[in-house]
């Protein structure tokens, strides 16, 4: 069989390694065969290709030293930067726990949804250490190096293409290879500057008529952090050709510029051109979720489900929302749907167990949690034990609860929620000093939680340390201004001080 045909067939069947092997042999015989050469670049690229629209994460450095946003204090609800106040529509912070950024917990974990935007560098650097999900240090170097580079693919003798010696101008004029070469440089070599150079010259060679190159230019600018240039390229590409990916990229540009309203406009424009496009709808609902406008987010997730009934993210988010808005039975149906679709992991059983418990189907509860424990990885097991602790509290078995929280701490000793609950238990037992220590640990480990502050303040109030109580309850109110109990405590303290 013709080896080139074999290589092509392997490429089609996604046997990229085999394809590369054959190509390498062919190239050894005839190094100037362009078709083989371009096939090899494509095969190498495909091996490390990542979807940038979804897998993109802002680096730590970019978040901290962000100078692209225009408004430093934007009107509430128009910025993703500041933690928005709990909105009128959705459930309050009391019921729905928040992530570290002060946003309500989402149904799925996606890049950036856990971290949020830290206030100080200290906090930013400490947080990833304690939570087990580290953020990349910088978008230009960190995650992209890990996700999509050739460093993972071992090459026998030296790199396939030596970028430093590449004659960019020559290849930019050969459209048949230029595109494959660009993707190779961009994804495989991860050398954005060279890729940019190639794209700029190629688009020039075509008299700025090819939208594909404009999108690629935009992507390069985006990766370099030149968002304004990226915006220009994407917009110009959209004038020539409507493309979903371009809409998504332009929307991402506005998110990085912290203009969620502008990106919503872009996505909605995209929806006019591509009605019912799931990726666009998902992007819209993610923004609403980020803005803490949960009713709208759920509405768009429902739209997503109208178009794609097997969309995991939408199902999970709607389920979560139902669970926290006191409809565990409905949430249960969504999670069962996920289970039906073949998602079989610790988290799903954990959620199912919780739903069953709150929907009063006690027979299923413990079975689900057993399943969850058996499937749990190191990362998730602490959460399972913590939830089991809640069940134990619910059925009034304080000893079991105590053990569960302890077990949660064994598997993850940074679990702030468990510390808090342990503190409460100790407090009930009358071990006030131990309780205080637990509250303080919890508060220092999870700076986004108001509960340990409130509990601590209450404890201090009980033992008569009014000054401490006063100081700490204010911290709780800072995190959750609408918390009624804290407000009442503060009021009592204030009247107390006034009578003194």
């Amino acid at each position: 069989m013709d080896p080139l045909f074999l290589a092509l067939s392997n490429f089609r069947r996604r046997n990229f390694e085999k394809c590369v092997e054959i190509c390498t042999e062919l190239l050894n015989k005839n190094p100037l065969d362009q078709s083989v050469w371009s096939l090899k670049t494509r095969a190498l690229t495909e091996q490390v290709w990542v979807d940038e629209c979804d897998g993109e994460e802002e680096g730590l450095a970019d978040v901290l030293m962000d100078d692209n946003t225009i408004a430093s204090v934007a009107r509430p609800g128009t910025s993703l930067r500041s933690a928005p106040p709990s909105s009128a529509g959705g459930p309050s912070q009391t019921f729905r726990p928040s992530t570290q950024s002060g946003r309500p917990l989402s149904g799925v974990v996606r890049p950036g949804s856990q971290g949020g935007r830290p206030g100080t560098m200290d906090q930013a650097l400490r947080t990833p250490r304690t939570a087990q999900t580290a953020r990349p240090v910088s978008a230009t170097s960190g995650r992209h190096v890990r996700l999509g580079t050739a460093s993972m693919v071992s090459t026998g003798d030296g790199p396939f293409i030596n970028l430093a010696r590449l004659n960019v101008a020559k290849y930019a004029n050969q459209q048949n290879i230029a595109k494959a070469l660009f993707e190779y440089i961009y994804f495989h070599e991860n050398d954005v500057r060279h890729a940019l150079d190639l794209a700029a010259q190629a688009t020039q060679a075509l008299n700025f008529k090819d939208w594909w190159w404009k999108v690629q230019l935009g992507r390069c600018y985006y990766r370099l952090g030149l968002f304004r240039d990226a915006e220009k390229q994407f917009k110009s590409a959209l004038k020539q050709q409507d493309n979903i990916n371009t809409f998504l990229s332009l929307g991402r540009v506005y998110i990085r510029l912290d203009q969620p309203m502008a990106s919503l406009d872009v996505y909605k424009d995209g929806l006019d051109k591509f009605p019912g496009e799931v990726t666009l709808l998902t992007a819209i609902s993610r923004i609403y979720e980020g803005l803490n406008d949960l009713p709208k987010a759920v509405k768009f997730y429902k739209d997503v489900l109208q178009c794609d009934a097997t969309h995991v993210e939408a199902i999970a988010c709607i389920g979560t929302n139902h669970f926290y808005s006191d409809q565990p039975e409905v949430a249960l149906r969504f999670y069962r749907r996920l289970l039906q679709m073949g998602i079989y992991n610790c988290e799903i059983f954990n959620n199912l167990g919780l739903c069953c418990f709150y929907a009063q189907q006690y027979d299923m509860t413990l079975t689900c949690f057993e399943r969850a424990l058996s499937l749990a990885t190191d990362q998730g097991i602490a959460d399972v034990w913590y939830n089991l602790g809640h069940i134990a509290l619910g059925i009034g078995d304080i000893n079991l609860a105590y053990q569960c929280f302890r077990l949660a701490l064994v598997s993850d000793n940074d679990h702030g929620e468990s510390y808090n609950n342990l503190g409460v238990l100790e407090y009930r037992r009358g071990n006030l000093e131990t309780a205080r220590a637990f509250f303080m640990t919890s508060a220092s480990l999870s700076p986004h939680m108001y509960q340990p502050h409130y509990n601590h303040a209450k404890l201090a109030h009980k033992v008569g340390d009014l000054q401490t109580s006063f100081i700490i309850v204010q911290k709780a109110l800072n995190l959750f201004p609408a918390h009624v109990d804290s407000q009442e405590l503060l009021k009592t303290l204030e009247t107390h001080f006034q009578t003194l």
């Binding site: 680096g59 730590l60 450095a61 970019d62 901290l64 030293m65 100078d67 692209n68 946003t69 225009i70 408004a71 430093s72 204090v73 934007a74 009107r75 128009t78 910025s79 560098m121 200290d122 650097l125 400490r126 240090v137 910088s138 978008a139 230009t140 170097s141 960190g142 954005v192 500057r193 940019l196 150079d197 700029a200 390069c220 600018y221 370099l224 952090g225 030149l226 304004r228 240039d229 915006e231 220009k232 506005y254 510029l257 912290d258 203009q259 969620p260 309203m261 502008a262 406009d265």
Partner: protein
């Protein structure tokens, strides 16, 4: 007088001239200004207070301020209604390379555009026939008009860097015209894309503001402010301070706006639009930064709001009818008494002079030629004394280091001498007037004053000279006015000159005699030119500025050609001729090989600069990414207490920073070069436009623009030559 109805301190520095006010949510006025560190602040005192009347609480002024990061020097800022379907005002911020239209309420861009010509002045409003409002951006020699989508349906070029812009209905046709003040001292009125009128001033025009009807106020860089009604200047005053901002506002409540001026020494004054009389003044501690009007007390009335560079803000309310009446009462009485006594004083002086003269006449002794002494009441000169003036061209001399110039000769007809001469002429002398005041011993009866008109414009010379006898204490003042022809700096050549390469040729349906008349009136000729026997005309001149020849030819059929290498001069000649002959439209054939070659070279350089710039900015972005990483790593090391690696990271950071700074310098130079090239291109287009008149002029400019957009140099050359693509 009036006292401010509110004062507040924003505790923010304000950059002079970058102040505006906008109702971003359609209801609440927000003072917006550019402050230090490339930021723009928005002061919004009302959002939280709601619409409760009365005096607003101004204590927490710092909490009411929100900052916008622009990250580039803010060169102009304004707010206005740009988007129709969206509500509220749009904030438009100009920087040396970009324009950002920003929806403050929604924290979203309306558009963001690169303008390589920079944005020196911005105004928002409806222009001419355009249906939607435009944001007009004045840059280096060019004006862009962007609509809310970021398209630019309006583009034109002007003579020099635009320094101020405003929109007003200049000719009373219910359509706005664009007034442009530029650094070449001109105020131009654009109707659609063509220039309707041009007014020459004496310095760069730093501010313009529409007043009432076709009246507008202006301010110059040398501290002059004044008011124009259409083409005629009503008044102007000059101060040693600079006018930072001018604004029109009806402060005394009489229904006619006054011109409010904010000065660099912190003074604010309001002047009557008709007479320039000061009706109100106040003082700030520091330079005035801007003047706007807005409803800042939420009482439905607009106040005049003035800000200083230190962030002090004062609001003034127009005086009400009653208070004005009481104020007027006192004023009118005092004014009238002052005025009458002044007149009495003048009349008495005049009477005294007459008496003196009569005494001299009646005594019969005529003492000519005798200087007056302290005892005399009057100096006497012969009754037939005349002051003669003459304009001539002086070719200058090498040894006295005098370049060729025009000179004005003043001479008396008898033995009286000229003690001093004051010549007042706009735009020729620094500071507009020239005083010639020779020493006592070198007094003569004739005086020659050299003139160097920098531009080819007709100038009125107002001459006042003091004539009398040597040693006399009293002099007679002779006042006269002479007009300097437009092209006075060109000397007639009697010898044959080599014909310059550049040329413009066109056909006029006129008699040659009228062309001759025009030449006679606009050049400084010793004797009037005549058409030759066949009825044609050929005349050559030499420029006194550049020593380059200029040849004007006309054959009996009135085919005219002008030969010169200076495209600008050709443009000036054609504009003057078209004006003289009242031509509606003039299409010409132009050939300026050197200019076109130069343009080609410049465009090529622009291309190169663009390419370099792109590479440099990619490099810089890459570096800045690495820098961020290094900072985080270094800080990480610090938190871990690992001083060794912290030191290492910071060391690397230092080196990278040095690289970045040197890269920045290269980028800066590159940008400067690019700017000057673009300016040159715009100027060439402007010159090509000036070679035509009327419709052809507009179409040449828009065709050139199209050619440059498509980077089609050949088409551009063709357009410049023939006037159509």
């Amino acid at each position: 007088m009036l006292v401010p109805i509110f004062t507040l301190n924003l505790n923010q520095k304000i950059i002079p001239g970058r102040v505006c006010i906008g109702k971003y949510d359609t209801a609440h006025a927000c003072l917006t200004a550019s402050t230090t560190a490339d930021k723009v602040f928005i002061h919004n005192p009302h959002q939280r207070l709601g619409i409760t009347g009365g005096r607003m609480s101004l204590s927490q002024s710092s909490a009411e301020i929100s900052l916008l990061n622009i990250n580039q020097t803010v060169s102009a800022i304004t707010a206005g209604v740009l988007t129709q379907p969206r509500h509220g005002d749009t904030l438009v911020v100009g920087t040396p390379t970009n324009v950002l239209a920003y929806d403050v309420q929604n924290n979203a861009d309306v558009f963001y555009k690169d303008v390589s010509d920079g944005a020196n002045a911005i105004t928002i409003g409806k222009l001419g026939r355009h249906v939607s409002p435009l944001a007009l951006i004045g840059g280096n020699c060019s004006i862009h008009g962007f609509d809310s989508e970021g398209n630019d349906p309006f583009w034109t070029v002007t003579g020099d860097n635009v320094s101020s812009l405003t929109l007003t209905d200049f000719d009373g046709d219910d359509e706005n015209e664009l007034l442009v003040g530029s650094e070449d001292f001109d105020i131009r009125v654009f109707k659609h894309e063509e220039i309707l009128f041009e007014m020459s001033e004496t310095e760069a025009v730093t501010a313009l503001c529409p007043m009432h009807g076709s009246r507008f106020g202006y301010a110059l860089a040398n501290g002059t402010v004044g008011v124009y009604e259409k083409l005629s200047r009503w008044w102007r005053i000059k101060s040693k301070n600079h006018a930072i901002a001018i604004y029109s506002y009806d402060l005394d409540g009489d229904g006619v706006p006054e011109l409010i001026t904010g000065w660099s020494n912190g003074k604010i004054d309001a002047r009557n639009d008709r007479s320039g009389e000061v009706v109100f003044k106040d003082n700030f501690q520091s330079t005035v930064a801007g003047i706007v009007q807005g409803d800042y007390r939420m009482d439905g009335k607009n106040q005049l709001i003035c800000c200083s560079v230190d962030g002090e803000v004062r609001g003034y309310q127009p005086s009400t009818a009653e208070s004005r009446y009481s104020m007027m009462d006192v004023n009118i009485e005092q004014e009238t008494i002052r005025e009458l006594s002044q007149r009495r004083h003048n009349l008495l002086l005049e009477l005294k002079n007459y008496e003196e003269n009569q005494r001299m006449g009646s005594s019969g002794e005529v003492v000519h030629g005798k200087p007056s002494t302290a005892g005399d009441q009057v100096g006497i000169i012969p009754a037939n004394t005349q002051l003669q003036t003459g304009l001539a061209i002086n070719m200058g001399s090498e040894e006295k280091n005098k370049p060729p110039h025009v000179e004005i000769a003043l001479a008396t007809t008898n033995d009286t001498v000229i003690r001093a001469v004051i010549i007042f002429a706009e735009g020729i002398f620094e500071g507009e007037s020239h005083v010639y005041h020779p020493r006592e011993h070198s007094l003569t009866s004739n005086i020659r004053v050299p003139l160097y008109p920098p531009k080819d414009v007709p100038v009125d010379l107002h001459i006042k000279s003091m004539v009398g006898y040597k040693g006399s204490l009293h002099y007679h003042v002779f006042e006269l006015t002479r007009q300097l022809p437009r092209f006075s700096m060109y000397a007639l050549c009697t010898t044959a000159v080599t014909q310059p390469q550049g040329s413009v040729s066109f056909r006029l349906s006129e008699r040659v005699a009228r062309i001759v008349m025009w030449v006679n009136s606009s050049f400084l000729l010793l004797e009037d030119l005549q058409a030759d026997e066949e009825g044609g005309m050929e005349v050559s001149f030499l420029s006194l500025r550049s020593n380059l020849p200029l040849v004007i030819k006309a054959d009996p059929q009135c085919h005219m050609s002008i030969y010169t290498d200076d495209m600008e001069l050709a443009g000036d000649l054609i504009q003057a001729l078209a004006n003289y002959l009242n031509l509606d439209d003039l299409q010409v054939e132009a050939d300026f090989p050197s200019e076109v070659d130069q343009l080609g070279a410049v465009l090529q350089r622009v291309e190169e600069y663009h390419a370099t710039r792109q590479r440099l900015s990619a490099e810089m972005a890459d570096h800045s990414g690495v820098i961020r990483t290094l900072v985080v790593r270094a800080e990480d090391a610090r938190l871990m207490g690992d001083m060794q690696s912290m030191r290492q990271w910071y060391g690397e950071l230092y080196n990278l920073n040095k690289d970045l700074i040197s890269g920045y310098k290269i980028r800066c130079n590159n940008h400067q070069e690019l700017l000057s090239c673009l300016k040159q291109v715009n100027q060439t287009i402007q010159k090509a436009g000036r070679l035509r008149a009327g419709k052809s002029k507009t179409s040449v400019i828009s065709a050139c623009r199209q050619a440059i957009k498509n980077s089609n140099v050949n088409a551009l050359t063709k357009i410049i030559r023939t006037g159509s693509p």
